[in-house]
């Protein structure tokens, strides 16, 4: 469909380029000029000259109109191609104005997005525009409704200076890492946050130090040597820094040091993979970004990006549904839950999902998943319905139990 549109547009452009409109205007000018010249030369024949040229001028003017008709029909054809392309596609709209009322939160999310994407100057422009708008609204009229007033107060939720500083720091570290192959700022950061990272089970500090060790070995510019690698610099680094990493990485560190014994034939050694990992820098950057954001309580990828992309995947289904529901004049049965399943890529699933196998309802705070002594799980409401206060048989195994034996679980 799209290539049809492209073809039709090509035709339109060709037509427009071939248009003689302006040429014909020039023709009119030329004709008038030659009439003028002729009359200037032979003033007594002015009437004849003028009469003679009247109809050529008119036909040039008509030709201008003709060329416009061409343009008109070209545009019409292209327009038809568009109608075909978007046939039965209503303009998207939403039933929920929940977001409209929360414009200040949308703005905050945008500001955060710009900051985490490293677009600091756009973010600064945007933030000052928000602040300015708030100032004029406060200064000008008093807000009309209490809701607006509440929104104004909430604008203070724009990313704090602290968050902005944090993102600036993150970008500095990433820039050094990616552009200058300088791991030191990242290592410093990971040391400062060692406890929090360890609590998360993160290996970031070790990964950074390992890459530094490998990088020093490969970096001949430090101290030119005849060796295939700069093992002296690498060993020096290992002596100074590795001990600090603690017993957790003992085995890994021994492997790294052991590799040096294979010089000059490191390539043929079992350690070749460690020293020739072309995506090592990319991996380390990603894991750094993820950890940095996590410690701030933020997701590694821009949530706004993920949500907008998920939205693009979900919209066709939701719009279709809207059309069907409008035709049938029905409404969703549950306002809390979307009426259809939207298949998203696996990377877009962040939580475990529990759907009660008995009631087919998703678990919520009000209706949490309950585990029976046999290990099977059903939703609390189903459990109540099944047990009616008595001993009852698990729907999935012969085990019998009592309502009070079941335990709430957290996914």
């Amino acid at each position: 469909m799209m290539d049809l549109t492209l073809k039709e547009h090509d035709r339109l452009v060709k037509r427009l380029n071939a248009s003689q409109g302006i040429k014909n205007v020039q023709a009119v000018i030329d004709q008038l000029q030659s009439v003028r010249d002729a009359i200037a030369a032979v003033p007594e024949e002015a009437a004849v000259t003028l009469a003679k040229h009247h109809s050529p001028v008119k036909s040039s003017v008509d030709a201008i109109n003709e060329s416009l008709k061409e343009t008109h029909s070209g545009l019409n054809k292209y327009n038809k191609a568009l109608d075909k392309l978007f046939k039965d596609r209503p303009l998207p709209s939403t039933k929920h104005d929940a977001l409209f009322k929360k414009k200040h939160l949308t703005n905050r999310a945008i500001a955060m997005h710009l900051l985490r994407e490293g677009q600091f100057s756009v973010a600064a422009t945007f933030l000052s525009a928000i602040t300015e708008k708030r100032a004029t609204m406060e200064g000008g009229f008093s807000p009309r409704t209490t809701e607006q007033a509440a929104n104004l107060l909430d604008i203070d939720e724009v990313p704090s200076t602290e968050i902005r500083k944090q993102f600036a720091a993150m970008y500095y570290i990433l820039h050094e890492l990616k552009e200058n192959r300088n791991l030191l700022p990242a290592i410093t950061w990971s040391r400062e946050n060692r406890e929090a990272l360890a609590a998360r089970g993160s290996n970031l500090e070790f990964e950074l130090c390992r890459l530094q060790y490998v990088w020093l070995y490969h970096n001949k510019s430090l101290e030119p040597t005849n060796q295939p690698g700069n093992w002296k610099a690498a060993m020096e680094y290992a002596r100074q820094e590795f001990a600090d990493l603690g017993p957790r990485y003992q085995a890994e560190i021994q492997r790294l040091l052991g590799a040096m014994a294979f010089i000059p034939n490191l390539q043929g050694s079992p350690y070749a993979a460690i020293f020739n990992n072309s995506s090592a820098w990319e991996e380390v950057s990603q894991s750094f970004t993820g950890e940095f954001c996590s410690l701030l309580g933020l997701s590694a990828d821009s949530p706004l990006y993920i949500a907008a992309t998920a939205g693009a995947v979900a919209l066709p289904t939701l719009l279709k549904l809207q059309t069907i529901m409008k035709a049938k004049r029905t409404e969703w049965t549950s306002e809390n839950e979307l009426p259809v399943e939207i298949p998203l890529p696996p990377a877009y699933l962040f939580h475990s999902i529990f759907v009660c196998p008995v009631s087919k309802e998703q678990a919520t705070d009000e209706n949490p998943p309950m585990m029976m002594p046999c290990g099977h799980v059903i939703a609390e409401e189903s459990l109540k319905r099944l047990s009616k206060g008595n001993r009852f048989k698990c729907p999935y195994c012969p085990n019998e139990s009592h309502f009070k034996d079941a335990r709430k679980i957290f996914l």
Binding site: H9, V13, S19, L99, T106, L296, A308, P346
Partner: protein, 409 residues
């Protein structure tokens, strides 16, 4: 438990992404091209109506010898000068046309690129989708009146051809002028779009004229009232009979003062009417360009936030599956502070099946994790050697044999 690692069963993930929601992207420049043609047609018509009679008059005058040859030459010079001006105007319109079509071409190519992306999981799709987000952000900024930010973002990310900066700038200017109580630029816009507005059901022009009339009536000066009657004759009565009721009301205003408590006159005299006019203009303007009145970002977000949202995202209890204190995987975007409040009132996604790691175990405190991942975390914490495991959410330490298999169907 970290994010569940087995993908859901769906063959649809390989389906090709489509850009059909991007209707405004092509509709807007198409509408601009049509306007450009209309403007050209008007110009040509005007110049034709000038030139041909002027030429005829000059010929007749020359035949009747009522003008000297010198006078005829002066007439011709005037015609030539005017035609040169005409050509310049034609060139400007042509230039505009070329700009619109170059932009259209880039937009078609942008949408067409989607056809070459095999699946949603492709890296190219991510790049494409980032451009789309930038477009939505610019659209949102423009609609909020943050023109400078919109321009900065469009420029920095090189998507100027994919967004309608000029259209929104003009729209914003007229919108603001109405809110300030000025009808001039809005009426001028109506004149420029006369043909298209005939099909509009919103009667923007009538409402604007009515406002002008109201402003005349408002004045205590009796002269102004007379002026108001003349204005009404000229601009209100001449329009269609559909607005009869409004015209009668307008007439009724003549005998009232602006502090009246009587409806509907109170509303008609109210300053709020400017706000109404501004929004009526916005709606009319967007309708004409096939632009949704809502920001495109809101449309995408309300669908996307819901598709991602789970009952766990606003639960009173910390989710074991993803939270900032626990695992090495990413925080859920809905749980992330940027979007959490925004998503609060939206419905959550529908799922027909549970979706939990295959090796799920439960700890004595009721928390469910993937066994392999829990062991991993415990090993790194140096606990595994002593037969202990650590709950990454609560920090509690348990004996390894306190883990219990849980069956989730």
């Amino acid at each position: 438990m970290t994010a569940p690692d087995k993908p859901p069963e769906t063959g649809k993930l390989t389906r090709r992404p489509r850009g059909k929601q991007d209707q405004p992207l092509l509709r807007v420049p198409n509408e601009l091209a049509r306007r450009n043609l209309k403007a050209t047609q008007r110009l040509v018509e005007r110049e034709k109506d000038y030139l041909l009679p002027a030429l005829k008059d000059a010929t007749n005058a020359a035949i009747a010898k009522t003008k000297t040859p010198d006078q005829t030459l002066a007439d011709l010079d005037a015609m030539i000068a005017r035609m040169k001006g005409f050509k310049q105007k034609m060139e400007n319109l042509k230039e505009e046309e070329t700009k619109i079509q170059t932009q259209t071409r880039k937009r078609i190519e942008h949408l067409e690129a989607l056809n070459h992306i095999p699946s949603l999981a492709d890296v190219k799709y991510e790049q494409w989708s980032r451009v789309r987000l930038d477009r939505l952000l610019v659209d949102h900024m423009l609609r909020s009146g943050f023109v400078e930010s919109a321009e900065a973002l469009a420029k920095e990310n090189g998507i100027e051809d994919l967004v309608d900066l000029d259209v929104f700038k003009q729209c914003q200017r007229i919108f603001e002028s109405l809110r300030k109580g000025e009808t001039k630029s809005a009426l001028q816009w109506c004149a420029e779009n006369k043909a298209a507005l005939k099909k509009s059901e919103l009667n923007l022009e009538f409402e604007l004229r009515l406002q002008q009339y109201i402003e005349l009536v408002r004045s205590p000066d009796p002269e102004k009232k007379i002026e108001a009657i003349a204005y009404a004759r000229k601009w209100l009565v001449s329009t269609q009979s559909e607005q009869n009721k409004d015209i009668l009301r307008a007439a009724g205003m003549l005998v009232l003062t602006q502090d009246t408590k009587v409806e509907p006159y109170k509303t008609l005299f109210s300053d709020e009417r400017w706000e109404f006019l501004a929004h009526l203009f916005l709606k009319t303007h967007h309708d004409l360009l096939s632009l949704p009145v809502e920001p495109l970002l809101n449309i995408a977000l309300s669908a996307g936030l819901s598709a991602l949202k789970t009952p766990l995202c606003h639960s009173a209890y910390a989710s074991s599956s993803t939270n900032s204190a626990s695992t090495a995987t990413s925080v859920c975007p809905i749980c992330s502070t940027e979007l959490n409040e925004l998503a609060r009132d939206l419905p959550y996604a529908h799922h027909s099946k549970s979706y939990v790691a295959g090796d799920a175990i439960v700890l004595p405190n009721g928390r469910v994790y993937s066994k392999a991942k829990l062991m991993d975390i415990s090993r790194q914490a140096g606990l595994a050697e002593n037969g202990k495991v650590k709950d990454p959410t609560t920090g509690e330490i348990f004996d390894e044999d306190e883990m219990k298999k849980v069956y989730i169907m």
